[in-house]
């Protein structure tokens, strides 16, 4: 009995000792991505990218002589877990800033945490709401994000439509955060571009077939369809569109379509589909004098060499986030408030998805020029004119 108590006691001491081991001199940076769960196609490349960038920095001697210690957590696409992990990073791991989460819903879920704890967050999710407080009409002070807002993608598509003379369209969206916020922007911006939305259809992320919605759209004979979704459903939609012989109705995908894997899965059905993409999707298509040509090519080559898999544009959001943070750390050191200030005034940061120009009123720092309109041609992207 005494022996047993002694063992338990020793074990406790050992655990405590391990737990309060002295922290090394390093910059602690947190990351939360949806590495597993429904949004793993975002979180997985983001995690890989962030780790790759940090490894590269540390190999080059770190920042100001300090290594970056990147602590990555997986929120499993779950709001409760995400919230807990955010608090754990701030209060227990004592990080100076956090990048992620991967999806809009979860980023929104932790906005209150970072505002309260006064810690910078650079989100890797699209929704405009993440950097826009409805009550004040301004960004949340401590929250930034790198992906282009949905509104920019919508503007890029609507601009292309104006060029093509399209006025009457149908929209489709998946009943998830990504689809819902895209749909909201599509509806909000349509009047400004004099575009008439004749059908507003939805489908579930696990639906097997969208023929019914497309048939209804076919009956209304719009000039174009815009689909806003991610994952397998966006492939099914394109296939159904092709099956129903609706090629005359031009098909636009959201920037969520930005992976060559999707063209492959569509099995030829994606031919002629338009899609707004960030520079990093199409690095090799960019003209040599494009400002992002160099960073995107380097990233693409590094990533493919390291992980031996095609680049996903979502990883680029993590590249932008961690690189921005590294830049800030280099300039001002591990001070939360100074990092926040630095980010807010950062201009001309050349990233994977655009050239960022932050300001007190804009915590995203991108314009619709961050998107290139591309079209699927011969099973690959081509720049659309």
């Amino acid at each position: 009995m005494v022996k047993r108590v002694a063992i338990v006691f020793l074990a406790c001491v050992a655990i405590c000792g391990w737990a309060i081991r002295p922290a090394l001199a390093e910059y602690k940076v947190g990351a939360i991505f949806s590495v597993t769960g429904g949004a793993s196609f975002l979180g997985d490349p983001e995690k890989k990218t962030a780790e790759m960038v940090v490894e590269k920095i540390n190999q080059a001697g770190g920042i100001n002589g300090q290594k970056i210690n990147l602590i990555v957590y997986d929120d499993e696409s779950d709001a409760t877990k995400c919230n807990l992990l955010a608090k754990k990073l701030i209060t227990q791991d004592k990080v100076v800033a956090v990048i992620g989460p991967s999806v809009s819903g979860l980023s929104l879920a932790v906005v209150p945490v970072f505002e309260k704890e006064r810690t910078p967050l650079i989100s890797c999710a699209a929704s405009f709401k993440i950097v826009h407080n409805d009550k004040t009409g301004k960004p949340y002070p401590w929250i930034f994000k790198t992906p282009q807002s949905d509104s920019l993608a919508v503007e890029a598509i609507y601009t292309q439509m104006q060029k093509m003379g399209i006025r009457k369209i149908a929209i489709m969206s998946v009943t998830e955060a990504f689809g819902a916020s895209g749909r909201e922007e599509l509806l909000r911006l349509a009047p400004a571009y004099k575009i008439d939305i004749v059908a507003d259809e939805k489908y579930g992320p696990k639906d097997t077939d969208m023929m019914a919605q497309l048939t209804k759209i076919k009956g209304l004979a719009p000039q174009a369809i815009i689909n806003w979704s991610v994952g397998p459903s966006q492939v099914t939609v394109v296939r159904n569109w092709r099956d129903l012989g609706m090629e005359k109705i031009t098909f636009f995908q959201s920037h969520g379509f930005g992976s060559r894997k999707n063209i492959e899965l569509a099995a030829g059905a994606a031919e002629g589909v338009f899609c707004p993409l960030g520079a990093c999707n199409i690095a090799e298509l960019l003209p040599a004098d494009h400002p992002q040509k160099q960073v995107t090519m380097t990233y693409m080559n590094d990533y493919m060499a390291k992980y031996n898999e095609p680049l996903s544009s979502f990883g680029g959001h993590a590249w932008d986030a961690i690189s921005l943070l590294a830049d800030a750390l280099k300039a001002v050191g591990p001070d939360k408030a100074k990092i926040r200030e630095y980010l807010e005034t950062k201009k001309n940061f050349v990233g994977q998805h655009g050239v960022f120009n932050f300001s007190a009123d804009d915590h995203n720092g991108l314009t619709k020029e961050a998107f290139q309109m591309v079209v699927v041609k011969g099973k690959d992207w081509a720049l659309a004119n």
């Binding site: 597993t36 048939t215 009956g219 296939r239 099956d243 129903l244 492959e264 899965l265 099995a267």
Partner: protein
Amino acid sequence: MESLPFFNQLLQFIVTGLTIGAIYAMVAIGFNIIYNVTEIINLAQGEFVMLGGLVMVTVHVMWGVPLPLAFGLTVLGVTLVGVLLDRLAIRPIRKPSVMTLIIATVAASIIIKGVAMLIWGKSPYDLPAFSGRTPIDLGGVIIQPQYLWVVGFLVVVAIGLTWFFNRTIYGKAMSACADNPDAARLVGINVRHMVLLSFALSAAIGAVAGLTLTPIALMDYDRGAMLAIKGFGAAILGGLGSFPGAILGGLVLGLIEALSAGLLSSGYKDAYALIILLAVLFIRPSGILGNLEVTRFKRF
């Protein structure tokens, strides 16, 4: 650009609904086979469908095995998983109450899903359609050749099961277990074997549903649960334990979804299907073709 006449649209909705409904029906049949012998709702049924699709992708696309042979191998492989499910998750339970059995199937479905994620990763996979992707245009109504395969397999499964339960000794023994397990035991039927057989059979049917669905909707590791719930809904709507009920329930559910997506609101289409399901249950507490008197005698 000519618009589509309303009548053609309606036909298109029906074609779509029946196809999806046929998949639901096959899942529902799988539920019924196991339910009839064991009174368990096997919530891992959807995972059989998922496995059917993904195993077929591996065998047919990655290994290049020709279609008919790949079909056979896939069904066989998934059947084996069904057998393992019974041996490793169901049979070891010493004091089987219906609730523990259901939890065991939930646990099994989580494990199968997790293993599938480890094997195939998280991205979706495609399978070539069995006879090409050139749509058939029937006077404005578009039919994918794969749709015919889906409906065709439902018919084959239905005929096959009818033959199995009415004509073969094993089928008759299984029906006997379903009617009265104690009496079946008395006349010398090995109920354990029948339970095993029921898992094997419903896994096989699940696999067929999965590999015919994949060319239409792609397949990924996470798809099982949703299909299981739709299939469960179809089985309940038709009346648990009734095979004609399962087919009717599946087709009706598919039709309601397609029609409400096309005619009412696509955001609420699943809700409409479920509201109708609830309404049916409140009027007929044992489903459309279910027998209330029989369900009274079931433990669950």
